[in-house]
Amino acid sequence: MAIGIVKLERQTLRGAQRLYLPAVVSGMLITIRHLLKNLFNLKKLPVISYPEVKRVYSERFRGRHILTSREDGTTRCVACYMCSTACPAECITIEAGEDERTREKFPVRYEIDLLRCIFCGYCVDACPEDAIYMTRDYEMSIDTRARAVVGLRDLVVPPNFPVEPMGWRPYYGAIDKKGTAGGTGIGQPLRTAPFEDDAPPNPELFRGGPA
């Protein structure tokens, strides 16, 4: 097989290279160049002072889940068990009930164990009802294991919930970009104050279940 090969030569150290000092000096020169460059370009410093400044994540970010609602306030979920079947981590528990008036199926219990969840987004892909989305919320610290299990109370958001904090959700073609490239956001305006959408979707978040 004729393949392009590049043979790498082992460089032997010659003359001044054999001394320690020139190596140290040339190393310092590179380091000082970086220091000066950063010193005069503080605005482009690739550092994010978390938590005052937060990283700009894309609109595909796979963060904490939400369950969306219809215009009339009922939850879109019809308890079809698609998400819990598709979940590779088996972290979704659903119990279905029936609305006596409309005869619609709906979830009586819908729990996600956030410690089991691997945030792969398969539940969103599996949902046939546009009911489960993922948000850009990634701050999910808890103090007990029990509080990692979030139920309907934490997941359901009111109808017409703003799209701004949304992350991974059904993909209807080109998403309207906010210019988020991810990364450290070099070349993009840095965020000095948190976005409004940094507030968690539900203020009752992670207070634990009913006492």
Partner: protein, 587 residues
């Protein structure tokens, strides 16, 4: 360009899957002919036809002879050894060997059938690398290897009961494992140092399992004579998550997030390798746009893998600055991945048949920005270290391995290329269109830590070359996932609006992908070498067997031999340069 086809009422008219049909690879006839030649040459082996590799079935008593004669006829690289369990068969276990010939660029698969209480003669005398692979088969299936020098469990705990990959092992079982009754690890003193008379006391020292320099949970026990390592033993399995057993209890799509966790430094390469293995089994090919995205992200991941390897290795040697310089571009690469799929480290971006979603519209601009900025960082680090006397004293001639030994252990990837052997899967058996790109395989002489640095630096430059060409070509238009409802979920617009698609959607989630019955092996060039996935399908929604060939496994196996006779600081420098990723090593 949207990934989605416009709303249409035209139902899918292609063929329905015939999941009870056997899988016949496209080039089976070629491999049958080659298999016949090999069988005639070897004499005492049977042949299995219709496989994706020349497949021979040997008697267990002949296996050492067969392997030796294959080795003399050119198959010098032992790639893999693994087992499969078929409990309903008379001889229930298949012990499989895969060899590669560098001269002819071909592979051969050997099978040995063994019953429950039978044992196989060990082949560690033929290939050194089969030592750990045989221990793994013993651990997972309980197949004994006669004459094996150290037949202990390798991935599971010593007190673990049963053999987890047997089909009759219940994956939900739990064992309470404690430190009591676990044998103490005593490194064997290398014969070179046995009768050396020194003034020093012999000291046994543990490196790891949780030590900042081991970059993951692995344990090395060394016996020191003064500062010289005179005996070393390594232990792995601290991060064993039973990837292979879990794959058997999940559907084909659900395995993709698990593959992320193998080599978490270059997760997309794992995704691509697994998906392409299943696609080979299904007889489909991802659309050209998806292939282009896969190639670009694989190269970005390779860059990120080498960046981590070089950066952290230099930290271990005390050169912290390089770590900061290299981790900025890595951060940007992970940002690019995040903008595509919503996660940085564990992307799960590919799906069987294509990608989960299309890349964002500014993907090419962002890639170009990265390709423009990366050389500066690589140059800076190279200038800082490669001619630095202090660095060179730490790496020159440290932990060398000869080309013969590297082959015998089953080295692949940058570590093998550092021994002067230009073996790269992207050139040897190109996939994703690597053959259409203009790039070179870097090789270096010496096989020591310095050579591994040289290769990794040059490989990053070659990856950038591939990426620049890929960006210049642009993304081909079209969908990113195959239009086949038996493989991929239908587009959401259709699911919400069409009955037909909704049914396909439900069937896809409930019944999964059902490939034809058969077995296949597919290999990609991972960050550390050949990353192979061997998939067996029995026609149901769950894989019957998923075997991953982790490139780290044979490389770390050789580590104890490489560091014997060196000092502790050398051992640390060598460990970093091998780029051992515990997630991949421990399955």
């Amino acid at each position: 360009m949207s990934t989605l086809t416009k709303y249409s009422a035209i139902p899918y008219t292609g063929p329905a899957p015939t999941n009870r049909e056997p899988f016949v690879p496209a080039d089976a006839a070629k491999h049958d002919t080659r298999g016949e030649e090999l069988a005639a040459q070897l004499g005492n082996v049977a042949q299995e036809r219709g496989q994706d590799l020349p497949t021979l079935v040997a008697d267990k008593n002949d296996i050492v002879n067969v392997l030796t004669s294959l080795k003399t006829s050119g198959f010098t690289l032992p790639l893999d050894l693994w087992g499969v369990d078929y409990p309903n068969r008379d001889k229930r276990f298949d012990v499989m060997y895969q060899l590669y010939s560098l001269q002819n660029n071909e592979r051969v698969r050997l099978k040995v059938r063994v019953g429950e209480d039978e044992s196989v003669p060990t082949t560690t005398g033929v290939f050194k690398g089969y030592n750990w692979f045989e221990r793994e088969v013993f651990d997972m299936y309980g197949v004994k290897f006669d004459g094996h020098p150290n037949l202990r469990r390798i991935l599971t705990h010593e007190q673990f009961q049963g053999h987890p990959l047997r089909k009759d092992y219940d994956p939900a079982q739990r064992w309470l494992l404690t430190e009591q009754g676990v044998a103490k690890l005593e490194p064997k003193i290398d014969p070179r140092f046995e009768n050396v008379d020194t003034d020093f006391e012999r000291v046994t020292l543990n490196l790891g399992p949780s030590h900042p320099a081991t970059h993951g949970t692995l344990r090395i026990v060394v016996t020191l004579d003064g500062e010289t390592i005179i005996g070393a033993e390594s232990e792995i399995g601290y991060l064993h998550r039973c990837f292979e057993k879990m794959s058997e209890t999940h559907t084909y799509q659900q395995v993709i997030p698990f593959t992320d966790r193998l080599n978490y430094c270059s997760a997309i390469i794992n995704n691509v390798g697994y998906c392409m293995a299943v696609e080979k089994l299904l007889g489909i090919e991802a659309p050209s746009r998806a292939q282009h995205i896969r190639l670009m992200l694989s190269e970005f991941m390779r860059l990120s893998d080498h960046i981590i390897c070089i950066g952290t290795n230099l930290v271990d040697m005390g050169a912290l600055t390089n770590f900061w310089y290299l981790f900025q571009p890595r951060e940007e690469i992970l940002g690019l991945v995040e903008s595509c799929c919503g996660a940085r480290l564990l992307p799960s971006y590919t799906r069987i048949g294509g990608m989960a979603v299309d890349v964002p519209s500014n993907f090419l601009e962002n890639s170009q920005r990265l390709v423009n900025m990366l050389p500066k960082f690589i140059d800076d680090v190279e200038k800082l270290v490669m001619t630095n006397r202090i660095f060179r004293d730490r790496v020159d001639g440290v932990a060398p391995i000869s080309a013969e030994d590297a082959l015998s252990y089953g080295f692949t990837g940058p570590c093998l290329r550092a021994c002067g052997i230009p073996f790269d899967i992207r050139k040897a058996s190109p996939y994703l269109g690597y053959e259409t790109y203009d790039w070179n395989v870097p090789v270096a002489e010496g096989g020591d830590t310095y050579a591994r640095f040289l290769v990794r630096f040059e490989e990053m430059r070659q990856s950038l070359r591939i990426l620049q060409q890929a960006i210049n070509r642009g993304l081909p238009p079209g969908p990113v996932i195959v239009d086949n409802p038996y493989v991929a979920l239908p587009p959401k617009e259709k699911v919400y609006n069409e009955m037909e698609s909704l049914i396909y959607h439900f069937k896809m989630i409930m019944h999964g992908i059902q490939p034809p019955v058969g077995e296949t092996y597919f290999q990609v060039e991972g960050g550390n070498g050949e990353l192979g996935f061997y998939v067996v399908s029995d026609g149901t929604k769950n894989p019957y067997r998923v075997r991953v060939r982790p490139p780290c496994f044979p490389i770390f196996e050789a580590y104890t031999e490489m560091i014997t006779g060196q000092t502790i600081p050398d051992a640390i420098a060598a460990l970093g340069s091998l780029n051992i990723i515990a997630g991949e090593l421990d399955h």
